[in-house]
């Protein structure tokens, strides 16, 4: 009896948390896309007579130190943070998949070179690599997407390589080769669809970590530059003990939104892993 109850708990938890995640993230996406269409939001309008105002009927979450409406900035910031996450994940999935497939399928010296290069990139903490590159190219919203994309592909590359190694000896690949299919076709029509499940899982988890990374970079002032709002740089502007102590409405909401969206995506990713990729039970 106890065992059944526990099993129920098990399923209950999985579905509930993933559902909760989907609900929260969909709500957030709907709000950041549609709220500006229905409510007058002014994320850029400064008002020097109304700086650092506490929450009131006109500015529901108060104003920042330049007199801009915090709620408007949070909503527009959500657009930026979520899209930076999405774009950078797409970039690094692309790089990781291409390098991983090539590495796994061709093997030999190509594999060796790609794997050594992956190892080298992996030795640097991502943040160090990124701040080094940003110090050269300068911070901008596109650079943020590109640097995250250029530095985070290593895990995907390793994952894809491993999966390709396992799949490439299977019969359907052999038969495709025997039928004279071009290598490109074998790679992307036969192999890729068969290894897509773990990639989807890694991509979902990757989206969560890309949003975190963007927040961290913008918080350092090296990500999305002001005045364009992002959750990370709203936090950046709230640094300093006076703001921290007397104006919690400037830094609590963006922090909570980052945590909320990242945890929702992680819940979804975890459920996807259970559903799509039962072999891997990592973490």
């Amino acid at each position: 009896m106890n065992k059944y109850k526990n099993r129920f708990w098990h399923n209950f938890r999985k579905h509930k948390l993933a559902l909760l995640g989907i609900t929260i993230i969909s709500l957030l996406i709907i709000i950041v896309i549609f709220a500006p269409l229905f409510f007058p939001l002014e994320p850029y309008k400064t008002d020097i007579f109304n700086r650092g105002a506490s929450p009131n009927s006109e500015n529901l979450l108060g104003t920042d130190m330049a007199g801009r409406d915090v709620l408007s900035r949070l909503i527009y910031g959500g657009r930026i943070s979520l899209s930076v996450g999405l774009v950078s994940v797409s970039i690094y999935l692309t790089i990781g998949i291409i390098l991983g497939i090539i590495s796994g399928y061709f093997g030999g010296i190509v594999d060796n070179v790609i794997q050594r290069f992956t190892e080298i990139v992996m030795t640097f903490p991502v943040i160090i690599l990124i701040i080094t590159i940003v110090s050269v190219v300068g911070p901008s919203i596109y650079n943020t997407m590109i640097v995250i994309g250029l530095t985070r592909w290593t895990n995907i590359c390793r994952l894809v390589r491993g999966e390709v190694l396992a799949v490439k000896e299977r019969e359907f690949v052999m038969s495709a080769r025997a039928l004279g299919s071009k290598t490109f076709r074998i790679l992307f029509r036969h192999i890729l669809p068969n290894i897509i499940a773990p990639i989807i899982v890694a991509g979902t988890m990757g989206l969560a970590s890309a949003i975190l990374l963007e927040a961290g970079l913008s918080f350092l002032g090296l990500g999305v530059p002001v005045p364009v709002p992002s959750w990370g740089n709203i936090l950046y502007q709230a640094r300093g003990l006076t703001t921290l102590e007397s104006r919690p409405w400037l830094w609590l909401p963006p922090g909570i939104l980052i945590g909320l969206s990242v945890i929702s995506i992680n819940f979804i990713g975890d459920a996807l892993r259970d559903a799509l990729d039962p072999k891997s039970k990592k973490g």
Binding site: N6, R7, W9, H10, R13, L17, R116, F117, E119, I120, V121, M122, T123, F124, P125, V126, I127, I128, L129, I131, T132, I133, V134, S135, V136, A208, L212, A215, G216, F219, L220, G221, L222, L235, A238, R239, L241, L244, E245, P248, W251, G255, I258, G259, V262, I263, N266, F267, D270, K281, K282, G283
Partner: protein
Amino acid sequence: MIPVLIGITILTFVIINLAPGDPVDAMIDPSTMTSAANIEALKEKFGLNQPVYIRYFIWLKELMKGNLGYSYRTNEPVLERIIRRIGPTVQFAGLSVIIAIIIGIPLGVISAIKQYTLTDYSLTVFAFLGISIPGFFVGLLSIYIFSLKIDLLPPYGIGPATLERLKFLILPAFALGWARISVYLRYTRSSMLEVMNCDYITTARSKGLKERTVIFKHALRNAMITIVTIISLQLKAVFGGSIIIETVFAIPGIGLLAMTAVTQRDYPVIMGVSLVIAIIVLLSNLLADICYAIVDPRIRY
């Protein structure tokens, strides 16, 4: 390991070459540079007029001698600045790992022995919170609560180099360790669960050993093999995270040094820091392999 080390230097060199100013240029002691003619003579002497791959070897040779170049701002040797700043980073990063181990591993053990109970699920959700809430936000929250609201711990800085410093380092170490707590928790849990299914655990139980002895002496000790690896693999993330946390708490470590260098566009310093950190990470991975062999006598290289 050696190819990776060489690769690291090449990658570093390529990135610095993209930056304004010449990396080999930066290696000449600025105090010897006086006039334009003098600079030309020095460039000739150092072989700076050679093609880029030769300059790489010149740069590498200087690197071997411990010359990481001179800061554009203060004209000091970069290595000296890094050595001066590395103490605080190592102290609070080390403390953060200790905190994460002390909290994470026991919670992971509890989670494993109470698998599929409410306790386990609560700890799972807690672990999700840990990897989802950014450490710097935890840092801000902890300053707000423990320094500003109840005035228990200092909000920033590192204080004097005595035991007193511990008070300064607790909050930043916790903020840095925050994500690690969850990672250790999850890996301890899964590796404990794996070990608990092994035959020797059944043997230990059937001998009539106490459950405590089985868990701590037989299971945990074997589970530690995976955990030790994870701890050392996480060192990279610890160093990465310390840059942000040092900025939040104004800890004068190498992370803050790198951040200041970025705002001042002091490229030799940035490169020096990233090179030093990459080498530390590489060495710690090597250390992990050695630990691995010590913890698990079955492994011999």
